[in-house]
């Protein structure tokens, strides 16, 4: 068991946006948080990242209680919806950032950082873009840089907030496959936030369907399709019929 979320609750003022969320994730598993807009997906992901803190509940990773651990100490790689690339740094500098910020004792030597960055860029098929600035990249390329940057810190967990939402359908499908391959190759767990059913069903080992700050169902894609746990899930997945008939993995 890698990540364990236990009764996490979050309020904005008097508005309860997460209501006793429970979620357990296995090592190396790919999980999708799927739900309509405003259901609390981003909030949950940010709480996992340590960018926000829950008002109640517990978070643990590999048995270690991380409920109150700062984001910078969690070593969870995060890909933001806006990518949040450092605009004043080149692609290579962006990817190297996490390694350069390490305290001297654990920081790799300069040459070592350089070769690791190059390897990551090659892995993301953006090796030739190393010296460009983010403003000179396409959306898909930016997304790859953001992913390489998150992976550079050798994260214990990968968090992705709608990483494909700004891209067109074709690019999106290509990147989806690339992300899945990369995640399996690196062998780390990943949590993907999305409101695109097709995306979730194609990429994830298990899907958590969220509505109004609660997890309605958390199961393998085929089980969810076979037996929707609540009327909400059944209704929410209605649009997926076409995907199912065409066969998974178009």
């Amino acid at each position: 068991m890698a990540l364990n979320i236990q009764d996490v609750t979050k309020f904005y003022g008097s508005n309860k946006v997460l209501d006793q969320v429970n979620l357990t994730m296995q090592k190396g598993e790919f999980i999708a948080l799927l739900g309509p807009s405003g259901s609390g997906k981003t909030t949950l992901l940010r709480i996992i990242a340590g960018l926000q803190f829950a008002d109640g509940g517990l978070l643990s990773f590999d048995g270690e209680d991380i409920t109150g651990t700062e984001a910078r100490l969690r070593r969870f790689g995060m890909v933001f919806q806006s990518y949040a690339l450092f605009e004043h740094m080149t692609v290579a500098e962006n990817v190297a950032f996490g390694l350069k910020m390490r305290p001297r004792a654990t920081r790799p030597a300069r040459a070592e950082i350089g070769s690791r960055v190059q390897a990551l860029l090659e892995m993301g098929e953006i090796g030739q873009l190393a010296d460009r600035y983010p403003s000179q990249l396409s959306g898909g390329q930016r997304q790859r840089v953001a992913l390489a940057r998150a992976l550079a810190i050798e994260p214990r967990l990968l968090l992705l907030d709608e990483p494909f939402s700004a891209l067109d359908t074709k690019v999106r499908k290509g990147l989806r496959g690339a992300l899945r391959d990369l995640q399996k190759r690196v062998g780390i767990g990943a949590i993907l936030v999305t409101h695109d059913q097709e995306e979730a069903f194609e990429i994830a080992d298990r899907i958590a369907i969220m509505a109004d700050g609660r997890i309605e169902q958390f199961d393998k894609p085929e089980n969810i399709l076979k037996a929707p746990a609540t009327p909400f899930v059944a209704e929410f997945l209605e649009g997926l019929g076409a995907w199912q008939n065409a066969g998974a993995g178009i």
Binding site: R72, F86, G98
Partner: protein, 287 residues
């Protein structure tokens, strides 16, 4: 294809007439704007320089190196050197607090930091005298410890801080509001500490706005008259900043000396203007 090979159809007479009228209107507007600028802003500057050099370069130079004037220049520069760093740190801190945190009183703080802009500097000076002067609330207590805040450099620095503290903050706040937390949060998840995040991410995004605000604040510190004149005590050769010195020389019927000193202030203004437009041209979002 080159431009020369492009042939235009003859312009419709109505359109041609329209263009003529447009050109005329534009010319009239530009001319009146230029004339106004020349009259209101250009002529005075020319007059200062002309008057300062009226009796020749030697007299001008002698007036500038006059010990009291030199001292005033030194005092003005010293004041700026003390006030600017404080202003920059204060500006960043306030902008950070306002744009990165939600706390009770945030709106009030946002209003209060603009206060120095809406208070007449002379009133500000009087307030400081009332509080920090030897008979004032804080001043009389400090007097018991033999500490005097007014009628010296400390007083000048204090009121200069007051009149210029909004400059940096008000440049940074709108910028930091739009540039958002995204990049900073990304840095945190990558393992950067708060200070590293500030140094490597935030500072880069705000540096031009910061410089812009600092330049405006500097111009104001060096040019401030009202507030400083109240708290400086006008001690000749001691607490006279450059603007005060100009006034003093003029009152002493030393017009050439006054205008010579004024050229230094004018020079600062021109440099400020040039730096400002350079920053605005290169980094339009800085202001």
């Amino acid at each position: 294809m080159t431009a020369a090979t492009v042939t235009h159809a003859p312009l419709h007479p109505q359109i041609a007439a329209f263009h003529r009228r447009q050109r005329l209107k534009r010319l009239a507007l530009i001319l009146s704007a230029a004339a106004f600028a020349l009259l209101v802003m250009g002529l005075p500057v020319i007059a200062i320089v002309a008057r300062a050099f009226q009796e020749g370069l030697a007299v001008y130079a002698a007036n500038i190196v006059e010990p009291d004037t030199l001292h005033a220049i030194g005092l003005t520069v010293l004041t700026a050197l003390i006030v600017l760093p404080i202003n920059i740190v204060y500006g960043i801190a306030v902008a950070w607090a306002i744009t990165r945190f939600r706390f009770p009183g945030r709106r009030i703080l946002l209003t209060i930091i603009e206060l120095p802009f809406s208070i007449s500097p002379i009133v500000a000076g009087l307030c400081y005298l009332l509080i920090y002067g030897a008979t004032g609330l804080v001043g009389s207590w400090l007097d018991g410890w033999n500490v005097q805040l007014m009628f010296n450099l400390t007083g000048i620095v204090l009121v200069s801080l007051f009149v210029t503290c909004p400059f940096v903050a008000r440049e940074l706040i709108p910028l930091m509001q739009v540039s958002g937390r995204d990049q900073e949060e990304a840095a945190l998840t990558l393992g950067a500490s708060g200070w590293q995040t500030f140094r490597h991410v935030t500072l880069h995004n705000i540096r031009w706005a910061l410089l812009y605000g600092a330049i405006l604040a500097n111009a104001r510190v060096m040019g401030e008259f009202g507030a400083v004149s109240v708290v400086s005590g006008n001690i000749r050769g001691e607490t006279m900043t450059l603007p005060l010195q100009v006034q003093l020389l003029y009152d002493d019927y030393n017009a050439t000396g006054a205008f010579a000193a004024a050229t230094v202030l004018t020079l600062i203004a021109v440099i400020t203007l040039v730096l400002r437009s350079l920053i605005e041209a290169r980094h339009p979002h800085a202001s």
